[in-house]
């Protein structure tokens, strides 16, 4: 990506090309059915004024990570939550799209909870693969899985928007990508049955539900099956994490968006030898971490998504 891509405003296509941006969080606005990225958190305030529902997306906190790409991932999570707390209008709730911890240690989940709870917002979690690394794979479910099905999938409604949290990080198969599995697909189909096609749908999961880059495993094996159940809905927004950078794609009625990590950036697809943590100069790190804010506006067509770096 060249710097000139950023000149003269950023189109959706350009957002796709700006794959080296990794963020603090995305502010999402649901406007008349379609979630819409508002840009960065500084811009979010204006968008929030006219909104019906605003929620935040936090992702890839990797609490416990202490390698050169960010020796203090807990510290940058704290900065992200401070940013949330500084928002002029309180969001309705947060979603966290996984990799809360780095190694699924109880102490890491404890630290994450201690920091994230300072937002005083309800948080709806889905797990990342780093949250299922304890030998019995039970810490995540014991802590965040109450009232969920299977490995932790569930749905809920807010302001007329139907939210669905999916798990695509368990029972992964050799040579494959992320995986939802037959049981979850069956549940999803049943969950959507009978809902009005005009209901805005927000689907969130850790690994992207579209194939960003198969060579690095950045996709979900059976996502097409899941998305086939959503074809009749007029507004579908898919929010993911895992790749530690902002990417967006619009395909028919579906808007796909990935959020930045609060811990460390990862390279653009194919831009490095591996998808491992990317070390950037210290002064650049916070421009590549972030959160996202999403606002749903009752009288507009799109959800507004704001990707806000910790520092621009």
């Amino acid at each position: 990506m060249s710097k000139s891509d950023h000149d003269g405003g950023v189109s959706r296509r350009q957002v796709l090309e700006c794959m080296t941006w990794v963020g603090t969080g995305v502010l999402w606005t649901v406007a008349g059915g379609v979630p819409h990225s508002l840009g960065i958190i500084g811009e979010a305030a204006a968008a929030q004024e006219a909104s019906g529902l605003t929620f935040l997306q936090l992702s890839d906190s990797h609490v416990g990570f202490d390698k050169p790409a960010n020796p203090n991932a807990l510290g940058t999570l704290e900065e992200a939550i401070a940013k949330v707390n500084a928002l002029p209008n309180k969001p309705a709730f947060m979603i966290h799209t996984g990799d809360i911890s780095h190694l699924s240690l109880q102490s890491q989940f404890d630290d994450a909870d201690r920091i994230i709870s300072q937002s005083r917002l309800d948080v709806h979690y889905v797990p990342g693969e780093h949250d299922f690394l304890d030998p019995e794979q039970k810490f995540y479910r014991d802590r965040y899985g109450r009232g969920t099905k299977g490995a932790g999938w569930y749905s809920f409604d807010a302001n007329g928007v139907h939210f669905i949290g999916l798990v695509n990080v368990v029972n992964l198969k050799a040579g494959g990508l992320g995986d939802l599995g037959a049981d979850q697909l069956e549940w999803l189909e049943a969950d959507l049955k009978g809902r009005s096609a005009s209901t805005p749908i927000v689907l969130f999961a850790h690994i992207p539900l579209w194939t960003v880059y198969a060579d690095w495993g950045w996709g979900t094996e059976d996502a097409a099956q899941a998305l086939s159940y959503l074809e009749r809905f007029g507004s579908v927004t898919v929010l993911n994490g895992h790749i530690h950078q902002v990417m967006q794609k619009v395909e028919g009625n579906v808007t796909f968006h990935t959020a930045r990590s609060t811990a460390f950036p990862q390279p653009a697809p194919g831009a490095a030898a591996s998808p491992g943590p990317m070390k950037v100069p210290d002064e650049q790190l916070r421009s590549m971490l972030g959160i996202a804010s999403v606002t749903f506006k009752q009288n507009e067509q799109r959800l507004a998504i704001i990707d806000a770096p910790l520092k621009s």
Binding site: K67, P68, A69, H102, L103, S104, E129, H130, L133, P135, L172, K173, A174, G175, G176, L177, A214, D215, W216, G217, A273, S274, P275, G276, P277
Partner: protein, 129 residues
């Protein structure tokens, strides 16, 4: 660490459970890398198992060592050997292969990462499992 000490440790490791062997391997690996056959070592670097295919004689202990800044895991594609715990940076996992055959495995954290261990038949020919 003396060569004889290393050899004894590896024999002990080979006869214990896989988890214990992994812990021991983490201790003896530095000495072993210099004094034993390097072909029984699989490195995990840049989300890749190296070598991709490792050919060994029956009774060889294979040790995987993660040198990435991201945890990985080793699991048999056909449950032919017990899976490793999550391997943080510089952690190792060892397993001793006794039966000839072809053992495919993958990283259960990043399943696009795959590798193969070929255990030759005693006579030197390769059996397929």
């Amino acid at each position: 660490m003396s060569p004889s000490h290393t050899t004894r440790s590896m024999l002990v490791a080979a006869t214990l459970g896989a988890a214990t062997a992994a812990a021991l391997a983490a201790i003896v690996l530095p000495g072993r890398a210099q004094s034993a056959d390097p072909a029984s070592v699989v490195g995990i670097d840049n989300f890749t198992f190296t070598p991709q295919t490792l050919t060994i004689k029956p009774g060889t202990t294979v040790t995987w060592t993660n040198r990435d800044d991201i945890p990985h895991g080793v699991a048999s594609s056909s449950n032919a050997f017990p899976k490793s715990k999550a391997l943080d940076t510089d952690d190792s996992f060892s397993f001793t292969f006794t039966a000839p055959g072809t053992y495919r495995y993958f990283c259960y954290v990043h399943p696009h990462m795959t590798g193969t261990i070929v255990v030759e038949a005693a006579a030197g020919s390769t059996a397929t499992q």
